[in-house]
Amino acid sequence: MRERALDNAIQFQDVTVDGHKECYSFAVPYGSFSSLISTRQVESDRIVQLALGLLKYSTGTILTINENVAALTTEELNKLRMRISVVFPSGGLISNLKAWENLLLPLEYHSKLSPALIHERGLTMLERVGYNGELLALPGHMSLYEKRLVGVARGMISDPELILYNNIFDGLTDSEKENISTIITEFHREKPGRTSLFMTSNHEALKEVAFDYHVILKGNEFHG
């Protein structure tokens, strides 16, 4: 088994991307409940892409859960991504799959659990996030809040080591934000060592959650 010297769940060291002036240098401590504050949403989108190996970078080093993403093969990257969940601003749902199918997709694809167990876990997750919408609704017919709830439930269903919440409060009412912040805070505390990174370009969103670590964009650089 690979030895784990995990001080940081995510570490960016002097990372630059072709065509962009920003230089990213920051670290998110392992097991922390952190926030990353950027000036624009596109910035946090790029951080997610880089951390998951979805975007190539030109200089620097990125370690995600102790893995150098640039050195991994496609198959190894997919294995790494299975240990991480991302909740995208739109929920990250697939438009031709129903809410229920979207929720179960990662488990059905990756796990060897029986359909009954997957079904049961799906229902538990939906109950936990308080989703009251149609199970068979397509994302196009769901509200932004419903899409985010299903996205959060899908992020939690595979019990990840690292979970990234990308601008998930934008466009929600106060009560909706409060509900989601309660869910993600409880989920973080439930498993020791789990890292949660909350990314936002809206400082107001920080009021909703009590973070224990902040990464803030200063000038053209991120500092942790």
Binding site: L54, N78, M82, L93, L105, P106, E108, Y109, H110
Partner: protein, 258 residues
């Protein structure tokens, strides 16, 4: 001039390589389906078979019946009523060898090829390919492979329906219009309808299906992040698929019949 032609030739070879590689990767992914995403991938495959195969049955039946009727009428008007064996041979050559696989594939391009290119293009523009990758799901395994296999299965099944209905329609018209008996008709048809003919027809339809889906998937996934690319993907997918049909048909003709 020479340099421009060379560039075009290189681009064409690269394109052909891409499409053939997609088909080969789809077959390779089939072998490993038990390792990753068996249930969701099979669901996508079955949906593709349903959409391309089952939902197109009605239109295939109507068109094949009309085509069978037209061809038998033309043959009898040229060869005369008494020449049942010639009629049978010509109808088999035209329908089983050529029109069955070709017209079925053209209908599939019009219905499903455009749908695949549009759907994948929309997914690409909406960032959904990235959402899948973020979940550790390979688009080649989850999106492309079941579509390629689904379309190939559907085209093969629809070709069989097309040929059976066209031959039956031809016989009915010959029977009612010119009083050709079943014995006369079947004698002509079955003297040339060998296993070899059926295998060539099925291989051709399978190749058509594989390449239609691969080309349309490629076009869909090639879209940049602009909605104006969606109709362009569909149009290019259709045109390139049609061109590929004729190329494959020509190669098959050379390979099997000469």
């Amino acid at each position: 001039m020479v340099s421009a032609l060379t560039d075009k030739l290189i681009a064409a070879i690269e394109y052909l390589y891409d499409v053939v590689a997609m088909v080969i990767i789809a077959f390779r992914n089939c072998l490993f389906i038990a390792h990753h995403g068996t249930r969701p991938v099979i669901t996508v495959y079955l949906r593709q078979v349903y959409f391309t195969g089952l939902e197109a049955v009605k239109i295939i039946l109507v068109i094949s019946l009309i085509i069978g009727t037209i061809i038998i009428t033309q043959i009898i008007s040229i060869a005369g009523v008494g020449s049942a064996s010639v009629t049978g041979k010509v109808i088999v050559w035209i329908i089983v060898r050529e029109l069955g696989p070709m017209l079925t594939a053209i209908i599939v391009i019009a219905r499903s090829g455009t749908a695949i290119a549009t759907e994948l293009s929309q997914m690409k523009i909406g960032g959904e390919i990235e959402y899948l990758e973020a979940l550790g799901i390979s688009p080649a395994n989850y999106l492309i492979m079941p579509r390629i296999m689904g379309v190939a299965t559907a085209v093969m099944a629809l070709t069989i329906y097309f040929e059976v209905i066209a031959l039956s329609g031809g016989f009915l018209v010959a029977s009612f219009g010119w009083h050709v008996s079943w014995d006369q008709f079947s004698q002509g048809v079955f003297s040339v309808l060998t296993i070899n003919e059926l295998v060539i027809s099925l291989v051709k339809s399978a190749l058509f299906g594989l390449f239609i889906a691969a080309i349309c998937c490629r076009q869909g996934l090639k879209s940049a992040r602009s909605v104006t690319q969606i109709p362009q993907s569909a149009t290019k997918g259709v045109m390139q698929s049609l061109f590929m049909l004729f190329v494959i048909d020509g190669i098959m003709l050379l390979f099997f019949l000469l």
